[in-house]
Amino acid sequence: MNIANLFRISLKALVSNKFRALLTMLGIIIGVAAVIAMLAIGQGSKKSIQDEISKMGSNMIMVQPGADMFSGGARMSASANQSMVLEDYDALKAQSNYISAISPMVNASGQSIYGANNWPVGMQGVNQDYLSIRKYGIQSGRIFTEREINSAAKVCLLGQTVVEELFGEGADPVGKSIRYNKIPFEVIGVLTEKGENGMGQDQDDVLLAPYTTVQKRVVAITYLNGIYCSATTEDVSDKAKAEMEAILRVQHKIKEGDDDDFHVRSQKEMLTMFSSTNSVMTILLAVIAGISLIVGGIGIMNIMFVSVTERTREIGLRMAVGARGLDILTQFLIEAVLISIVGGIIGVAIGVGSSFIIKSMLNWPIVITTSSIVLSFAVCTFTGVFFGWYPAKKAANLDPIDAIRYE
């Protein structure tokens, strides 16, 4: 049979029942729009977390003293946190094959003062590599030299927030002298702006100084608070981590079977960890939205049943003038699929539209993936066929003799 004619017949039947068709579509429209908007929100937040984490550094691996805080257990004693020393840094730098940059980390907390302004900021004692590890750039001035590190020179680099607080917006503090915990430091450079990280910390609120200076002149300690490094590529990040753990176990003389007194965490792990919690949320949202699609499908079946009963005489007449059972079946199936596809298109439009409204009004990150559109579209076509089949079959099996005289 001529499918184009059947298509025309179905379309006509829908157009002459516009309001009913629209009401039927509503279920599908809401379902599809919900799926798309939910997935867009889920994917968006996943993407933004990933972006934030990757902005933190380039294939960054962090080594910190003390056991892994994520593995639980008793709180470590203060001495356990002093286990990381400069020799560990030297060993890692010399022995590790998968790292491209490495820097010690010594933290100090205190107050920075310039003239009448002061600002509480943590001082980070690092070496030159730290800039590339954390993806910091230099806006003006320079990074400290090897000589300045060796001589524990009182030089520092400021983040944008610190510059603003001490010198006012737009000022260039290079060459000026600030005091940190009463020790005068010369500002030799200003870092480029980086913004907040995924956890909402201001990454511009930093004060960098040579680690030797912080160790010897500011906090007077011999240990390190941590070691930061970059894996050569993202792919070797796991290998680099394993290798570093092996090196540190030897350094710290940890016996086979004993727990580490340090922990190594890579950026990649953080990414996986945050993404996985997010994926669960996305799946949950999609399932909820999917249920509304099924409800929409049941709506289609319901209306198609009513439609078949209501149009029994029409079906009888069509059969009398030569429609076969298959023609009737196809006609009603096309109607059901048309309802769900048109509903799907409207739903996609509303879903995409509302995603953008959410984006602009609530400032939520939104990612609309092609797969979510294709998926919801496929599901609603399937819904049309699945839920349209039974009523259509019922119509096709009508006896024309009874149908044509049906009251």
Partner: protein
């Protein structure tokens, strides 16, 4: 003259519950090309069952039915659907037009199920038959914008559009007043004079007067099958009807 319809010892039984009901108990007759036959009988006489079989909607339990020389009894459901589409035009008591669908589209309907007819041909044929039943002005009207007589004309046009070998009418004047009935019968007579074969089921004797031959059914058997000597003219009867005067 060729036989359009040839039925031979036609029997049809229904099983209702555990009872066998014989609706047709052995019917034989032929209808030749160009004939205008009325099939008469009271309700329960089996005339509807006979019409269903003649219209290829139903198959006989026993006996042979040839439509235009084609044996129908052994045909499958789909083959019968095709046969209906090509050979038969139905006119029903209740018009059975599709609602919210223009006269033209209603008439096009049978051709929609014939893939050999193009959209252009379909439209032309439909317009042509609508003109021939006197509805050239009302092609784009919906059924609810037309009177009963006009709706039945649309139905007749629909029956004619596939150029069938026979028109089967089932109480086609049953829902119409006398004047409109005569108008419709006059149309049938005109079609018959143009060579159409018509089988018309009715229980109204005055309608049967306009046909050339009447077959009377009673309890599933033919009780009378006679040619009418003097066929009444519906057009003349129409002219004789008193002019209606509003009486209020």
């Amino acid at each position: 003259m060729t036989d359009i319809i040839k039925v031979d010892h036609l029997k049809r039984e229904f099983i209702v519950g555990d009872q066998r009901v014989l609706a047709l108990r052995g019917i034989s007759f032929t209808v030749q090309q160009g004939e205008f036959v009325t099939i008469m009988g009271t309700s329960g006489s089996g005339k509807s069952t006979l019409l269903n079989i003649l219209g290829c909607l139903d198959t006989p339990t026993e006996g042979e039915y040839l439509l235009d020389g084609i044996p129908v009894r052994s045909m499958s459901k789909n083959e019968r659907a095709k046969l209906r589409n090509m050979k038969i035009g139905f006119v029903f008591q209740t018009y059975n037009l599709l609602p919210r669908t223009t006269a033209l589209e209603n008439v096009e309907l049978p051709l929609m199920y014939n893939s050999a007819v193009s959209a252009k041909e379909r439209r032309e044929k439909a317009m042509h038959v609508l003109e021939s039943v006197g509805l050239a002005e009302r092609m784009h009207h919906m059924p609810n914008q037309m009177s009963g007589g006009q709706q039945q004309r649309v139905a007749i046009a629909r029956a004619l559009v596939n150029d069938p070998v026979i028109i089967l009418a089932d109480e086609a004047t049953g829902n119409l007043d006398t004047r409109t009935s005569y108008e419709i019968m006059s149309l049938f007579q005109q079609l018959n004079s143009e060579g159409k074969t018509i089988a018309f089921v009715t229980h109204e004797p005055d309608i049967a007067l306009f046909s050339q031959r009447s077959i009377m059914l009673r309890d599933g058997r033919i009780t009378k099958d006679e040619k009418r000597e003097k066929v009444g003219s519906a057009a003349e009867s129409l002219a004789l009807l008193p002019v209606e005067v509003d009486t209020y």
